[in-house]
Amino acid sequence: MLFRSGEQFDSRHRVVVTGAGIVTSLGQGWESNAAGFRHGRTAFSPIEHFDTSRHRVKSAGLVTFSGTSDTGSLSRSQRRRLDRASKLLLAAGLEAWNASGWHPNQVTPLILGTTSGGMNFGEAFYRTALNHSSRKKLQATRVSNYLPQTQASDLLQAIGFKGPVTIISNACAAGANAIGHAFELVQSGRNERVFAGGYDAISEMVFTGFDTLKALSPTCCRPFDANRDGLSLGEGAAMLTLETLQSARQREAKIFGEILGYGASTDSHHLTQPHPQGNAALLSMEAACAKAGVTPRQVGYINAHGTGTPLNDSAEATAINRWRGDSKVRVSSTKAGIGHLLGAAGAVEAVVCLMALTGQWYPPTSTLISPDPAATFDIVSGPSDAIKEPLEHALTNSFGFGGANASLLFRRWG
């Protein structure tokens, strides 16, 4: 039952991550991504799946798909119709699920963040509709696969589990919101375990949208650099298995980290521009820490939203400065290496935080040349380990179109 009047839940379950899956332009899987993020590699390539000859920018952080990707229990006909978005979601989902050791026989809520779902199918539907095609059957398939609930259904079938599906489309914060919502369901005792994350694939329409807004960098994405000139888009997915600590211990599961806090807020300043003082960004960071009972002084690393656009980074820098006061914190934006993954960004960056906590290193913003003077904190610009002081807490920020803001706070396990 999703809701019953008068029901009561005992909150304050500890929530841990027992499985993680990730796919980005750096590669598929935890190991290749951890190596890439640790060393600050960049992975951008020319877009070939649609025509970019009339675009200002022609490259993105694209995932290279291998022909032998695991698709779980999907049938051959289901595998044949998978598009980029579905493949990304399946890759991350299967990796996380397999790492968790979960069995599919337990009902498990699935919470996904995405901005455009199967947009490539939607585009194909429109192009075909314009051409008055008589291939009606394929058109119906395109409609179905455009809808994100179909991609969610594919994941359920590929793994063989059942559970209610929730799809959050809070623009670029969607992935973080999905994990945050999952965290709250487990923490409150509503669910013992929840499967959550985000995914998005590069599509012609969305890429053109950012291109027309002149939000894309014609050079390279340099978050928090004084001369930054825009973001780079990327694609990918990340999924996490969240469960109560009690459940994880009973199963003797490997624990990747603990989620301590989640904050969400709304920036009503402008549809596409953050408040210059980062008011709502500050609210979401404060809420995540307050929920966890953690002070800024205890947070060793922030994986910033850090898109590389002039407006986002200055507002976020202001918010971080206000939030941290005189405490020290290291900050980086891994969008420098893989681009902005939109609905997947928050989930991917959550996994990056877990990688940093388990490996005890700081992921660098490797494209940084001249730090913006507004960013008075320590920007990690090259590979570095947490040698002197162990990295115990990491915060990740996700701020989206429409003012959707979310922050997640993680703690090292062990």
Binding site: S5, I168, E184, T212, T266, S268, L271, G403
Partner: protein, 336 residues
């Protein structure tokens, strides 16, 4: 997290029946299917059948807000329904005395602007309008609602089959219980475009596509109507599972006297038989006001709330079966 009892403070609607929850209620109470109009699509012989929203008798002044200048019909209808549902809470929300959460639910989104922008992209991406693109994003309407009310609290956009509106109600109850918000506006909306009408035609026949929005404002302050429950959603993967599983939804409801079941399902004979065992009244809102997708689930809920108030009934159950085969139910209780 405290004991969760959740009440409906207010409801608001913009529908083919007119602007306002009262217009929606009266339209459904009459029980006469609205007459659809035809949408001519260039290059097509057969027009598409639609039920558009009539223009408002008096254009609300808030539609002149700078945020809504270039906004879609989806956003404007959502704002209107949301403000009506908020009612007398609006001043407290606007001055920050009441924390309002927003849950915006949608299936196809800002399709008119999306189609226009993609059309421009195909012609020449260099001349595609940068002003249109931000309005195509799924959460643009939620952002506009928040901006007009000067909100900074939590705000989600949920995407999926029409039954997601009920999931939104359950989520609102969670937010209220966990004190994320002191009131939550749950909005379901869709807009009309030929591309949606054509797409819908592959799945649903014999019913026009309609447009508009519906909103419920939920709080913990007791009122005339309480949200009793929201069932688990059922994902029906094969048509044969419809008859097998959907009738199970009413069995989730607690035993009670016969009462009204408000359905939001395609008017096929197979679907009509799904609830043959139901002993109370049955109303299928879709046959009267068309296929409103996510707005349709909101409208059936608003009808249920209005009916409880107008007819002094004790409880009404609602069930929706969406074109993507998500089936879910909820129950509203009248508080005497």
């Amino acid at each position: 997290m405290g004991l969760s009892r959740v009440y409906v403070h207010g409801s608001g609607a913009v529908s083919p029946g007119g602007w306002g929850a009262a217009a929606l209620y009266e339209t459904i109470e009459k029980g006469i299917p609205l007459r659809s109009s035809e949408l001519q699509v260039p290059g097509r012989i057969r027009p598409l059948s639609i039920l558009p929203v009539p223009p408002p008798v008096n254009r609300p002044s808030y539609l002149n807000h700078a945020r809504l200048r270039r906004s879609s019909a989806l956003s404007q209808h959502s704002v209107a329904a949301g403000r009506e549902a908020l009612g007398n809470l609006t001043p407290r929300v606007e001055n920050g005395a009441l924390r309002l959460g927003v849950i915006f639910c949608v299936m196809s989104g800002c399709v008119a602007y999306s189609r226009r922008f993609y059309d421009e992209t195909l012609k020449d991406p260099q001349t595609a309008s940068p002003l249109v693109f931000p309005e195509t994003v799924f959460n643009a309407p939620a952002s506009h609602i928040s901006a007009l009310l000067n909100l900074s609290s939590i705000n989600y956009t949920l995407v999926g089959d029409p039954g997601v509106f009920f999931q939104g109600l359950a989520l609102a109850a969670q937010w209220l219980a966990s004190d994320h918000a002191q009131a939550v506006l749950v909005v379901g909306a869709e807009e009309l475009d030929w591309i949606t009408a054509e797409a819908l035609g592959y799945f649903v026949r014999g019913i026009p596509l309609s447009a508009g929005a519906g909103a419920l404002c939920l709080t913990r302050e007791p009122s005339d109507v309480e949200l009793g429950m929201v069932t688990d959603p059922l994902l029906i993967r094969h048509k044969k599972e419809l008859a097998q599983f959907v009738p199970l939804i009413p069995t989730s409801f607690p035993p009670s006297q016969p009462h009204c079941l408000v359905e939001n399902r395609p008017p096929s004979k197979q679907m009509e038989r799904l609830f043959d065992a139901w002993t109370g009244d049955r109303v299928n809102t879709k046959t009267i006001i068309g296929e409103g997708l996510m707005a349709g689930s909101a409208w059936q809920s608003i009808y249920a709330v209005q009916r409880l108030i107008h007819k002094n009934e004790q409880r009404i159950s609602v069930v929706t079966v969406g074109p993507n085969q998500l089936a879910i139910g909820a129950q509203f209780l009248g508080i005497k």
